[in-house]
Amino acid sequence: METLLTILTGILVAVATYLILSRNVQKVVLGTAILSHAAHLLIMTMGKGLKSGSVPILGEGPAYVDPLPQALILTSIVISFAVTALLLVIAYRTFQETGTDNLYEWRDINDE
């Protein structure tokens, strides 16, 4: 399970890197969202939080699983939600102002 998730994390990071490096602003925004998902999966894998059928409560034995990774992931999901939303709005505003979503064309923008 751990191996599988680690590989999945790697694939997500690769996809996100590709998207962030593309010239289309929507793809970049999507890339940042996927990047944060990769980080969440990584926390889950690293935090040994991968036992099905057990409750996230502090304690010993197979019936329990460390609750901390879950708390971390929930917090970081909320944060990435906020950042993605903000990024979308900024991207949209810039698109409105400049009339293009091509990042290469943004390079020449200068209002001074």
Partner: protein, 493 residues
């Protein structure tokens, strides 16, 4: 119960939220925000004296004891920075009163600055690594909004870059936290320090520390400062002053905390690397500072130089060097906003940011000119201003640690700072006066007063370094002896 420790973060958050309801009432917005910062400064002063009496204090949120719950820890280092932050933010508010456009004030400007300060204070006070990430994000989200404030094309473009770079660096932060948690099994800073000291800093942990260094390098502008100058030079003056004074300093604080509290076992790898990065930052910043003729860019490259200088102290790692770093950090948090405010005022009165288009301003605005002169001397480290003591102590520390190259770079960079600012002074303030008395734009009181307050602060910090000394010494001693911190967090009830 030490609930007071949480107030420097909680009060600005609450004030920021309440101000959303008073969108159209400018006076309520202005004076509430200003009052909050004054209250914060008072709390920080009180905490500082309390810490000298009772040692490092902590507050466990919701009564969950460490290492299980999250907590805030107040030691001298963090509280000194909280105090400086509050003062700087209050002064920037005064500047914003007279410079901010009306539509800014109606689009929640003051709320976001309050959130920014809350994030900064939270980052200084937190005793938990994940909480540090959350506070970083609070601060960054506010700064994302502030950088796009006004919605000019240029600002939007820069804010897009700024946000994406910070998203990526936050991702590195999360990854580093995940690895660290997987390796050590805790995120409480004191507990981490204890466990790493017990098990030894394995090569794996050193690699993880490198990931942390990358993150803080990006946030603080340590070597990875490529995003910084452009994005700081597009924002309105009051916001630029806050950014220059506070944002990179949080990265520096985190770097100092992490590399003195838990990754201090392999200094020949980690601290040497910090030293190399600091040296390169000094070189790059110096080149940038003399290369441009746009005042705002020169000023932002000065921010970069200061980052390098402060981390030279961390790299040396002796008690004196750390004391010097703390002094210089406080000095820089006061002087950089002042520099940004003066530069912004110069741009506001002349309508241009190009050095070549200004001349002889000292005849029109003598106060501004002389304040710029003071800042210049202070940044170059000339006594009796505040930069002096920090530079001397960092220099001593570097000699003790035997890092002569860094020492040379640090002091050569001071000359570059002096040269870059002297060039502005000679070009813009001296020379033939080209603005006639009739065309002169009247200097607003709201522009001069905040500058004068910060100038007074840098002089006071220079002359009164002696009275600050016990606190700085205490702060540096805590950094040198992590056991004090661990005892206070884990073994004191």
């Amino acid at each position: 119960m030490n609930n007071i420790i949480v107030f420097p973060m909680a009060i600005p958050v609450l004030a920021g939220i309440i101000l959303i309801f008073f969108r159209n009432n400018r006076h309520v917005q202005r004076w509430t925000s200003f009052f909050v910062m004054v209250v914060n400064a008072c709390i920080a002063l009180y905490l500082l004296s309390l810490i000298q009496r009772e040692g490092i204090m902590r507050i466990d949120f919701g009564g969950w004891e460490p290492p299980f719950g999250i907590l805030f820890v107040a030691d001298s280092f963090s509280v000194i920075l909280v105090l400086t932050t509050s003062i700087v933010a209050a002064v920037c508010f005064i500047y914003a009163f007279s410079s901010a456009e009306k539509n800014y004030e109606q689009t929640y400007f003051y709320s976001f600055v309050n959130f920014l300060v809350a994030g900064v204070n939270g980052s200084f006070l937190t005793g938990d690594l994940f909480n540090l990430y959350v506070c970083f994000e609070v601060m960054l989200l506010a700064s994302y909004v502030l950088i796009a404030f006004g919605g000019k094309k240029n600002q939007l473009k820069e804010s897009m870059k700024y946000v994406i770079i910070n998203v990526v660096s936050s991702w590195f932060f999360l990854v580093a936290i995940a690895y660290l948690y997987g390796t050590v099994g805790t995120l409480n800073m004191a507990h981490l320090s204890e466990r790493i000291a017990e098990a030894g800093q394995t090569p794996l942990l050193t690699v993880i520390s490198m990931v942390f260094l990358t993150v803080f390098g990006l946030k603080a502008g340590l070597l990875l400062y490529f995003w910084l100058p452009r994005s700081y030079s597009v924002v309105p003056t009051a916001i630029a002053a806050l950014f220059g004074g506070l944002l990179t300093k949080v990265g520096i604080y985190a770097c100092v905390r992490v590399f003195t509290l838990f990754f201090y076992h392999e200094p020949e790898i980690t601290h040497a690397l910090i030293g190399i990065m600091a040296g390169l930052t000094l070189i790059g910043g110096s080149i940038g500072a003399v290369a441009y003729r746009d005042i705002r860019l020169i000023v932002t490259y000065n921010v970069v130089i200061a980052v390098g200088f402060i981390l030279v102290g961390l790299s040396a790692g002796t008690l004196e060097a750390l004391e010097g770093s703390i002094y210089y950090l406080v000095h820089d948090m006061i002087v950089k906003p002042l520099l940004f405010l003066i530069a912004g005022t110069m741009i506001a009165v002349t309508g241009t940011a190009k050095m070549n288009d200004m001349s002889g301003l000292i005849r029109n605005y003598p106060m501004l000119g002389w304040m710029f002169f003071v800042v210049k001397l202070s940044l170059a480290g000339i006594p009796p201003f505040s930069g002096f003591i920090g530079k001397v102590l960092v220099g001593q520390g570097a000699i003790d640690a035997g890092s002569y190259i860094l020492l040379a770079l640090a002091f050569i960079s001071s000359i570059f700072v002096l040269y870059s600012l002297l060039r502005i002074f000679l070009q813009c303030f001296w020379g033939e006066t080209i603005i006639s008395t009739e065309d002169e734009m009247p200097m607003k009181k709201g522009w001069v007063i905040p500058c004068a307050l910060l100038t007074a602060a840098t002089i006071a910090l220079g002359l009164g370094a002696e009275s600050l000394a016990p606190y700085v010494k205490d702060a540096a001693e805590t950094l040198i002896n992590p056991q004090n911190y661990i005892d206070a967090v884990l073994y004191k009830d």
